[in-house]
Amino acid sequence: MNQFRTIFHFEIRNYFKNKLFVGTTIGIMIFLAIVMFFPRIKSSLNTTDNGKSAQTATDNGNEDRKTMLIASDDPSLARSAEAAFTQAFPDYQLQVTDKGENEIRRQIKDGTAEAGFLLHSDTDYTYFVKNISLYDSNTATADAVLRTIAQTNALTDSGLSPAQAGSIISVTVTHNVEKTGKDQTKNFFYTYIMIFALYMVILLYGQMVSTSVATEKSSRAMELLITSADPVSMMFGKVLAACLAGLIQLSCIFGTAFLLFQITRGDWEENTVMMSVFDMPLYLLLYMLLFFILGFLIYAFLYGAVGSTVSRLEDINTAIMPITFLFVIAFIVVVTAMSRGNVDTTPVIVCSFIPFTSPMAMFTRIAMSTVPIYQIMISVAILVVSVAGVGVLAARIYRVGVLLYGNAPKPREILRMIRKH
C-alpha cells in the first residue's frame, strides 16, 4: 500500500510539473474565457465605434449584399415574385432583369450576380448559380415562395379577393408539446460535448499511460523499478494517477466554462445552443463522472498492459492500435446514432452493455433517451466487474511484460507466461 501511495504521488506530481499539461489546461481555460466574454467584448467595441460606423453600415448595407437576379417573360409574375423574394431572401439584393437567360448566365459567370431565377410560370423556374454549395437552400425557399404565389393566384382566379386569399394561405396553427422523455433539441449539444470530452480524455490519457510504461522500459529505469516495487502497485499507481490528472483537467475546463457562463449568462440569453449546453442537469454530470472513471480505468489498464510489452517507444503506436480502434468504433457507433436523432438503435443498445463501449453508449442513451433504471444498473455492474477483471489481467500482463525485452511478444506467448507465473 505504501509503495502504491509513493508511486501514485510521484506520478501525479509529474503531471503537475509537466509544462505541456499545465500549459494546455491553462490555454484551454483562457480560450474558454475569450469565447464566453466574446459577446461582451464585441458589444463594447460596437458601442465605442457606434457613432462612426452606424452611418457607414447603412451606406454599405446594400453594397455588401450579394446580387440575385430575377427574370420572367410575364411582367406581373416578375413583379409579384420580386416583392416576395425580397422578403424571403434578406441576404440578397434583388434585381429584376428583362434581358433574359443569357444575361443571367453572363452576370453569374463573371461574378456580378451570385444567383438567378428564370421564372417560366408560377410553378416552373430555372435556378442559375456558379458553384452550388452544400448548404444552398435557395431552391427550397424559392419553391415555398412560388407555391404561395401560385396558391394566391389560384384563389383570386376563383373569385376571392387578394386579402381573403392571403388570410387562407397564411393561416397560423398554434401547438403545445408535452414531452414525457428527453428533449433532443436541448440535450444534443451537451451530450455531444461530453461524449467528445470522454473520447479525447480517455484516448489521450490512456496513450500517456502506455507511453509512460514504455519509456520506463526503454530508458531501463524499469530495471530498478521492478526490483524496488511490486508491479501491481506500479500499474495501479500509474493508472489511477492518470485518472485523477484527467479528472482534474476536465474539472478545470468544465468548471471554468460553467463559472464564466454564470458571469456572462445575460449575454447568451438569445443563443439557444449555449443556453442548452449550460442547462445540463446535475444527474447527467454525475453519470458522466461515473462512466468517465470506469471507462478510463478499463482502457488505461489495457493501455498500461500493452505498454509493458514493448521495449522501444517507436513500437508503441502499433501495439496500442487495436485498443484505440475498439474505442474509435464505439465513438463512431454513438455519434452516428446521435446525428440520426435516434440513440435507441440495436447497435447502440448492444454497445451499451459491452464493457468497452458502454461508457459512451450507455451515457449517450441516458442523456438523449429514456433508459429503464434496471438497464443502467446491469450496464454499470457489467462494467464494474469488467474493470476489476481487466485490472487483474493487466497487472498479470504487466508483471510479465516489464521483464521482456526485444521484439514485442505475441498475445499467445504472453498468455502462456501469465499461466506459468
Binding site: N2, Q3, T6, I7, F10, R13, N14, E216, S219, R220, A221, M222, E223, L224, L225, I226, T227, S228, A229, L403, R416, K420, H421
Partner: protein, 296 residues
C-alpha cells in the same frame, strides 16, 4: 548475517536457466559472481531480489527464508537507467521511498549521498544533463541510499573514469566494512580480485567453481612453472608442446605431475642460465577462462 542461496532452479519455457545454484555470502565480505553472458547471473539476482520466484530452491538469511518486507536490498543493475528527463533529487527520493524510507529521511539521506559523491550542485538538474560517469554515480546512490543489508553491484565500474572508479572503490570498501553483504558481478577480473574474498563462477546455469579466491588460486597453482631465461629458445625446443611463450616474455612449462615441481626446477636451473623461475599461479582471468571456455 549470512545469505545463502540453496539449490535454485529456474526454467523459462523449455529453457533451463538455473540448474541448482548454491552460494553463500557473509556480512562484511564481498562475493564475486562471475559468468559469461547468459550464464544465469541476472536470473539469480532477480530471484534473489524477489522479482520472480525460483521453480525450486531456497533463499535464506541466517538460516531462515528471507522476509522481503524487513530485508533491505540495494541493486545497481548492469543496464543502467533512471528517468532521463526528471530532476535528480526527485527521482532519488522516489526510489528511496519505494525502498521503504520516509520522505523526510529519504531527502536527508539522498542529500548526504549527493554531497559524499560531489554531486550536490546537480541535485536540481535533469539527469540527461549529466555526463555518463556522473549518471553512474547517481545510479549508485539508488543502490545504497536506503542503507541496505545486502548490496548487489552488477558491473559497477563499467564506464567510469579512473578518478570516479577510485571514488566508487572507496564507497564499496566502506559498505563492506560496515558489515554489508556485497554481491559483486563483473567481467573486470581485477576489481573482483581487489574486493572479493569469495567467488562463484557460473556456467550454463550451474556453479562450476566456488570458494575462497586465495585458496582457489593456490589450488590451481603448481601444475606449471614460469621461467625467464636468455636461452628460452632452447628451453622451448626441449619441452616441445609442454612449453608456451607468454606475453610478458616468460616461458610457461606445464607439469604433468605437480610433485615434479622441485625436480624440474633443478633440471632447468642446472641446464640453462635462468633470470627468474617460480611456480606459476594463475590469475582469476585464467581460472575463469579455464572453467567457462566450453559454455553449456
Amino acid at each position: 548475517m549470512q545469505l545463502e542461496l540453496r539449490e535454485l532452479y529456474k526454467n523459462f519455457g523449455q529453457h533451463e536457466v538455473l540448474k541448482g545454484i548454491s552460494l553463500c555470502a557473509q556480512s562484511g565480505h564481498a562475493v564475486g559472481l562471475l559468468g559469461r553472458n547468459g550464464a544465469g547471473k541476472t536470473t539469480t539476482i532477480r530471484i534473489l531480489m524477489n522479482v520472480f520466484p525460483a521453480d525450486r530452491g531456497d533463499i535464506l538469511l541466517d538460516g531462515k527464508p528471507v522476509d522481503y518486507r524487513k530485508t533491505r536490498i540495494g541493486y545497481l543493475p548492469e543496464e543502467r537507467g533512471l528517468y532521463p528527463k526528471k530532476i535528480i533529487l526527485d527521482q532519488l527520493v522516489y526510489f528511496a521511498e519505494l525502498k521503504g524510507m520516509r520522505r523526510t529521511d529519504a531527502v536527508t539521506a539522498t542529500s548526504q549521498w549527493l554531497e559524499r559523491l560531489g554531486m550536490s550542485k546537480f541535485r536540481n538538474k535533469r539527469l540527461d544533463t549529466l555526463s555518463k560517469g556522473n549518471q553512474q554515480k547517481i545510479q549508485l546512490i539508488t543502490a545504497v541510499v536506503h542503507d541496505p543489508d545486502i548490496i548487489i553491484l552488477d558491473e559497477p565500474f563499467s564506464g567510469l573514469d579512473p578518478v570516479n572508479a577510485e571514488l566508487l572503490k572507496e564507497v564499496v570498501r566502506e559498505e563492506i566494512e560496515k558489515g554489508k553483504v556485497v554481491l559483486f558481478s563483473s567481467h573486470q577480473m581485477n576489481y573482483i580480485e581487489e574486493f572479493c574474498n569469495e567467488i562463484a563462477i557460473l556456467n550454463g546455469g550451474k556453479i562450476v567453481l566456488s570458494g575462497n579466491l586465495r585458496e582457489i588460486r593456490r589450488a590451481h597453482a603448481g601444475n606449471a612453472l614460469s621461467v625467464r631465461s636468455p636461452m628460452q629458445e632452447d628451453i622451448c625446443r626441449y619441452y616441445g608442446s609442454r612449453a608456451s611463450r607468454m606475453a610478458d616474455g616468460t616461458v610457461q612449462i606445464a607439469l604433468p605431475d605437480p610433485q615434479d615441481c622441485q625436480k624440474e626446477m633443478c633440471l632447468i636451473t642446472g641446464r640453462w642460465p635462468v633470470e627468474e623461475i617460480r611456480i606459476f599461479e594463475p590469475s582469476l582471468q585464467d581460472i575463469f577462462v579455464q572453467y567457462t571456455r566450453d559454455q553449456v
